[in-house]
Amino acid sequence: MKFKLEPKKLIQIHDLMVKSRVLEERLIRMYKQNDGYFWIGGPGEEAFSVPLGMQVSKGMGLDHDFLHLHYRSSPIMLCMGAEPIDSMRQMKNVATDPYSGGRNFANHYSKRDWNVVPVSSTIETQYLTAIGTAIGQTKEGCKGITIVNGGDSGTAEGDFASALVWASRPALPLPMLMIVTNNGVGISTPHCSQFAGDTIAARGNAFGIKNKVINGNDVEESYFELEAAIKYVREERKPFLLEARVSRLYGHSSASGANFVSGEEDSLLTFEKNLEAAKILTRAQMDKIREDYTATMLEQSKGVKHEPMPSSDTIYDHVYYGQKGRYW
């Protein structure tokens, strides 16, 4: 196996992939130990999501990238600098949860300083709100782009078609990278019950939207294809539809048990085998990285248990911006 990326970058990617995987496994354990009511996440997508998160232009405002994420995006957030303990805080729904103050499920991120708009449980509505930030970024000289991700079966919603329509109008083409992570399953149903056709990316052809299908379990393919797609959207100010074939290692959510699913490719293991073969990291080094993250996050999760819950008298806070207390 010969890598194209520099060893330093590969080591960084590996570290973030392990960190992401350990976080998701910790969140699942928290859920199973009654330290949270519901788990949903995307373990198995790290080989795609880490290269994505590393290439985002992070910041606030139109000149940085807006992210309209769904609930399988923790690796992207960790790449951008999010702290794992904050995900645990959201899982435990404590007052210190920086994303929702204990109001929302785990992996429902929101960070205004980084243009990460609030993740919603509603399937595919992120493709609609993405239209808006992308319209804002059509402003002359704007450098930022809008990145939206979602799953394969969610594309059955009309909202996905809306995004294709709005992004590709000759009157106002939108700088929008539309990502579909295709794991072949919609919650519990195989894709043959969801849609026809070999690829979702091909739907872009009907709208004149450039598109591609990639192996999202391959770190380097993901990295370089994302780099090219982001460059295209950023420079051409036009949409791109990228379909990444990925694995789903722990099912849809705690609704399906959140247990390890055998028979799927584990992109982290594949990557580690290749790193070892290329003599970039040894098995022992990689084991140590995983052990360290596991120990650290275990301690953090113990600490989170003792953090305060949100006070019941705060329920009316922030119905309106800047407002606190009952408002009527």
């Binding site: 929702s100 929101s110 205004r112 509505t125 709100t129 809306s162 922030h318 911006y321």
Partner: protein
């Protein structure tokens, strides 16, 4: 002398010029039509969207996230129902993020009956919309308030729903309703304004509006207005029924019945202080609107009246609202029987005043 459509247009122009409005969009909102009710003619930031209500509302929410000020139109509120989940999403972004995100965007849509609009151009939306927390919701009843409430929406950091009572869009301002900067409220002023800002028929490709030197005028969100002072009964209403209730109040004076009419102007957050004070004064109240009567916003106001003023009331409170039927029938008789008429309000006033504790 502006009508309500012109007032909205002038407010949007003021918003483009002074309040950072960068996008005004929706179906037929841009040139050449400038809106099916002409509310967006002659503006510079308008454009035509795809015929896709979900896309329109989603785009507005996204522009709010980007802090790019926009006004999105749903051509008739009858077509907004397939966006309810998005309105909920837009209304909850600040709350769901524990206050992290402001959500400044405005959606405007014509509402209500009164133009013989048949089943799908006569719906109301206030009952549904007032069930969605997080929005500030306004409905003007005259051109000056239409201007002032729009400016208030354009200055707000929250999602705002601007409901246009379509039956009033062609109603001219009366004395006291002159928009700061517009021509005088005279026939001459009306003609002058029309020549300045109404697009001509036929080819409009070279036409440009000549805007009056408009001034800032804001109706604070959350403030109602007493449009008729009275002693015997309070009528609480909004939109086109303000004009109807006002006429009824004037008519009943001759019968010795003194009616106080409150124009709510804002549905959320509403001016309970004003409503409450009036009820305590007259001790009788009728809530009037044209949305369907079951789980109607007036029912909420009635509940609050009962909970807070039960022992003050001299008569049971009433709700006059639209019939609980799927739509508004087209024929004159059907429409008239479906939504409260002046005669209904007058009769309710007579009955409630006659009722003694």
């Amino acid at each position: 002398m502006a009508n309500m459509a012109q007032a909205i247009r002038m407010a949007l122009h003021y918003g483009e010029q002074n309040l950072g409005v960068e996008h005004i969009f929706g179906e037929d909102v841009g040139a050449p039509l400038g809106g099916v009710f002409t509310c967006t003619q002659g503006l510079t930031k308008t454009w035509n969207s795809p015929l896709d209500e979900r896309g329109i509302v989603g785009a507005a929410i996204g522009l709010g996230f980007a802090n790019v000020r926009c006004v999105a139109e749903i051509q008739f509120c009858d077509y907004i129902y397939n966006t309810i989940d998005l309105l909920k999403l837009g209304g909850m972004s600040t709350w769901a993020t524990n206050g992290d995100w402001p959500s400044p965007f405005t959606i405007m849509t014509p509402v209500g009956a009164g133009i013989r609009g048949s089943i799908y151009h006569s719906h109301s939306f206030d009952a549904m919309m007032t069930h969605i927390p997080g929005f500030k919701i306004v409905m003007p009843s005259n051109p000056l308030d239409a201007y002032g409430l729009m400016l208030a929406c354009l200055k707000d950091q929250n999602p705002t729903m601007y409901m246009k009572p379509k039956a009033l869009l062609r109603v001219d301002a009366i004395e006291g309703e002159q928009i700061p900067g517009e021509p005088e409220l005279t026939a001459e002023g009306k003609k002058m304004l029309k020549e300045m800002i109404d697009a001509p028929l036929g080819d409009r490709s070279k036409w440009k509006a000549k805007w009056p030197n408009l001034q800032d005028y804001t109706v604070e969100i959350g403030q109602g207005k007493i449009v008729r002072e009275g002693e015997h009964v309070t009528v609480v209403t909004y939109g086109r029924h303000v004009l109807i209730a006002r006429e009824v109040a004037d008519q009943l004076k001759n019968e010795g019945i003194s009616v106080e009419v409150i124009d709510m102007r804002t549905l959320w957050p509403y001016d309970w202080k004003m409503i409450s004070a009036s009820i305590q004064k007259t001790k009788r109240v009728i809530f009037v609107n044209e949305d369907t009567e079951v789980t109607n916003f007036g029912e909420h106001l009635m509940r609050r009246t009962i909970e807070e003023h039960f022992y003050t009331l001299h008569a049971r409170p009433r709700l006059l609202a639209g019939a609980f039927i799927p739509g508004i029938g087209l024929a004159d008789n059907l429409e008239s029987a479906s939504v409260p008429q002046a005669s209904d309000i007058a009769q309710a006033c007579r009955e409630i005043v006659a009722e003694q504790p």
